[in-house]
């Protein structure tokens, strides 16, 4: 069994307080993870400025080339992991066994992270709109067009309180180091793997280890990180997002409520888009905030829902090691049952129909975990309570709604795929401030272009574009 220490600016610290990460299906212990206490975090955060000082002493171009090397190491090398070693295969197996995601999905997610690292120069170029990155190092400089600009870092480190259930979110904090900000991560209790492996890859690639801290722990550790951070990301539910709303220090990432809107001009061709609808709902076991949880159209909604249900409804639970496994387990005891209970309540509403029920029970309970099989629900009206829901498995509603009312009724939408050639509808969607990422045209909600910002531009979050004049 592996022992993962707290990392205090790169130095391993073996805490007396340890959490055991276990296999979701067998209960077998996989790792003991040292837990950071609040005082330790608060104490260490007082030295956060050193991380930025260390990174500012390394030219950005050097950091970028080291990070590209880290991409290869992360994806292919056997790296130190606590008191042991970890190959990429070990990583996929361990991540699967603690998070409940099938192994092949864990393997598939690795290249996403390494892609971001390998293309970090292009990503930063896009996010900064072509800014000379040395201006970020110095704090100001003159752009090629002869204008003096200043970008002031708002924190010496980026902190992140990470989730257990969505390995995809790690791409969001990866740009911090090349921006010469240190990293302070509080991993999700069941997913310590990516932060530690990333730290090992960065260190092996020549990034000083002391610009990282990894503070595993319970909710109190997360609270300590957030309380001491000048800039932090947190991942949670709607309540978390509400709690940090308007707090400039915290970027809260919650449920996505991502949707596909089909315009009146395209809805008769809905069959052409069936693959993208299914992919948007089902890929990565529907766990991500970018997975589609609602398809909205003015007509053919019953046929659309039936066709998706016929495609996804028969999907069965398979062991996590099966390359065909498409469903992730709910690893928290009672969670799947509670989720299914909420869905059952909503299904009682008039005009709400589960079109997947004919393919057998959705809730599948095992000894130590549970699954919910894909569930496609048709709603006659956008007023149905279930039309505003999102769950962490392949779940979507198909909602009948006139095109003219859609934008007023969809609610917050992280990724909105708009399938239409109607320029007026496109323009309305472009103006809709409750859609974060807008896909114009038949693109799955789950296919992200990494050159685009995600839920706010990280440059705007970490730096302040302020006035600076020189005499």
């Amino acid at each position: 069994m592996l022992n993962l220490p707290v990392l205090r600016w790169g130095k391993p610290y073996d805490s007396l307080d340890k959490d055991t990460v276990t296999h979701f299906a067998t209960g077998e212990p996989i790792a003991k993870v040292s837990q950071a206490n609040r005082g330790l975090i608060e104490r260490d955060m007082r030295s956060a400025h050193k991380a930025r000082e260390i990174l500012r002493a390394i030219p950005v171009a050097d950091l970028i080339s080291r990070i590209k090397k880290a991409a290869d190491l992360y994806e292919s090398a056997t790296l130190p992991m606590g008191d042991g070693q970890q190959s990429p295969e070990d990583f996929a197996r361990q991540q699967s066994s603690s998070t409940g995601l099938p192994e092949h999905m864990c393997r598939m997610n690795m290249p996403k992270n390494s892609f971001v690292l390998r293309n970090i120069d292009k990503i930063l170029d896009c996010l900064t709109r072509g800014l000379d990155l040395n201006i970020l190092t110095k704090g100001y400089g003159v752009e090629s067009r002869g204008v003096t600009v200043s970008y002031q870092a708002q924190a010496p480190v980026l902190c992140a309180v990470l989730p257990s259930n969505s390995p995809g979110v790690h791409t969001l904090w990866l740009p911090a180091i090349p921006l010469q900000l240190g990293l302070v991560l509080k991993p999700g209790p069941q997913e310590p793997w990516t932060p530690y492996r990333m730290h090992a890859a960065f260190t092996a690639a020549g990034i000083p280890g002391e610009v990282w801290s990894i503070f595993p722990g319970g909710p109190e550790a997360g609270a300590a990180v957030l309380a001491t951070a000048s800039r932090a990301m947190i991942f949670g539910g709607t309540a978390t997002v509400e709690q940090y709303k308007g707090n400039p220090r915290v970027q809260a990432h919650g449920p996505g409520f991502s949707k596909i809107l089909i315009g009146d001009d395209e809805v008769d061709n809905w069959e052409k888009h069936l693959d993208l609808m299914c992919e948007s709902i089902y890929i990565n076991s529907g766990r991500g905030c970018i997975n589609c949880s609602g398809i909205w159209a003015s007509r053919h909604t019953n046929e659309i829902a039936t066709a998706i249900a016929d495609r996804l409804g028969p999907i069965e639970v398979k062991p996590p090691t099966d390359p065909q496994a498409g469903l992730a387990a709910f690893t928290i005891p009672g969670q799947a049952k509670a989720v299914w209970g909420m869905i059952e309540t909503d299904l009682k509403e008039s005009g709400v129909t589960d079109l997947t029920s004919k393919y057998g029970p959705r809730l599948v309970e095992a000894e130590r975990c549970a699954y919910i099989r894909p569930t496609i629900v048709h709603c006659d009206t956008p007023e149905a309570a279930i039309a505003k829901k999102e769950y962490m498995f392949p779940f979507s509603t198909v909602v009948k709604c006139p095109q003219g009312e859609m934008l007023a009724k969809i609610g917050p939408t992280l990724v909105g795929t708009i399938i239409t050639s109607d320029e007026k509808f496109k323009a309305e969607c472009t103006e809709a401030t409750h859609i974060d990422r807008l896909n114009l045209g038949p693109l799955p909600t789950t296919r992200l272009n990494w050159l685009q910002p995600h839920e706010g531009n990280i440059i705007d979050f970490l730096f302040r574009n302020r006035a600076l004049q020189t005499a």
Binding site: N37, R38, G39, A227
Partner: protein, 377 residues
Amino acid sequence: MTLVETATPAEMKSRAQAAQDQLDKHAVETIQWHFHDSTGSPFWLEKKRGLKFDPLKNVKCFADIQKFPLFEDDWLRGGPISRWIPKGLAGKPTYVFETGGTTGIPKSRMVIEDHWTDYENFSATLPDKYFPKGSNWLMLGPSGPRRLRLAVEHLAQHRGGICFCIDLDPRWVVKLIKKGWMEHLEAYKDHCIDQVLSILSAGHDIKCMFTTPKLLEALCTKLEKQGKTFKDTGITGIFSGGTEFTPQFTRFCIEEYFGGSPEESGIYMTPTYGNTLMGLACSKPVGAADGYKITYYAPQPRAVIEVVDFDDPLKVVPYGDSGRVKLTTLTKELFVPGFLERDEGEREQPYAKYPWDGISGVKPWRGIAATTTVGVY
């Protein structure tokens, strides 16, 4: 660690037997007091009528207390509070201390002098080197209807000192947490710590303090932000308590806040486990040698802690096993038979200074751990 007391197995056996004999005798005396018509409290005399045995005749040792049904904490909610006053103590000045009460009716415990006695006994366990007699104290913890403030103040006075107190309302803290008003929580904590720093800077020669782990952490953090350390406060003895008093917390304090073991830093911290019903369970000295393990021993014979099976509260678990904390309180002011606490831990072997069962790894009982707010101050 030099403060750890040891005994040979033969001595331990003899001390354990003496402690058991004393407990049996004390249990019988306590039952006679609480169930005799001339001295007992209205509450227990009323309960006696519903018992299937006569406590005055059938309790001949501590083990016989198992004949009573388990104590229900709801009995402590609501009045009249006077029903708990033993007739034998009627007319004495009486206090009421409360636990819980963030919402709804709090649990109330009637006290006359128990808190003084508990803390005088506890005083005898404190090393004078770090808790110098005659020095002044700081009480940084819950006040209001809690007994802690008066008890710590009495402890200071009993040791010849004067106690400075900082106000703290734990019910408001719980509300802030439940509402998610974390910035208000931080502000309230800062408000308390600012008062501490003012008092400590005022030249009152404070050398001892009571505080909770969270507030100690907050105090040390604030001091370090000012470029100081805990040592700069001049405090050499800390008495603290709560389920969040973990080995890791202790180690972190000793290694990083205090600057080393008591011998190196001159600062000694002793954890305690207690509440309004029990009094104070003392800890075996804690140090690096045994991995900062914290083992508590109830203040026998006035109170007894048993670590019992989660499903069968009449069955004590084997040494080293986990179980729920069952408390029996046996003072002249209060009799509490078999009260299942909201904590669990591992049963520990007797220790030379406290030759009866102990408990380590105390944490919230798994039955409520996910739903309760612990360690709020």
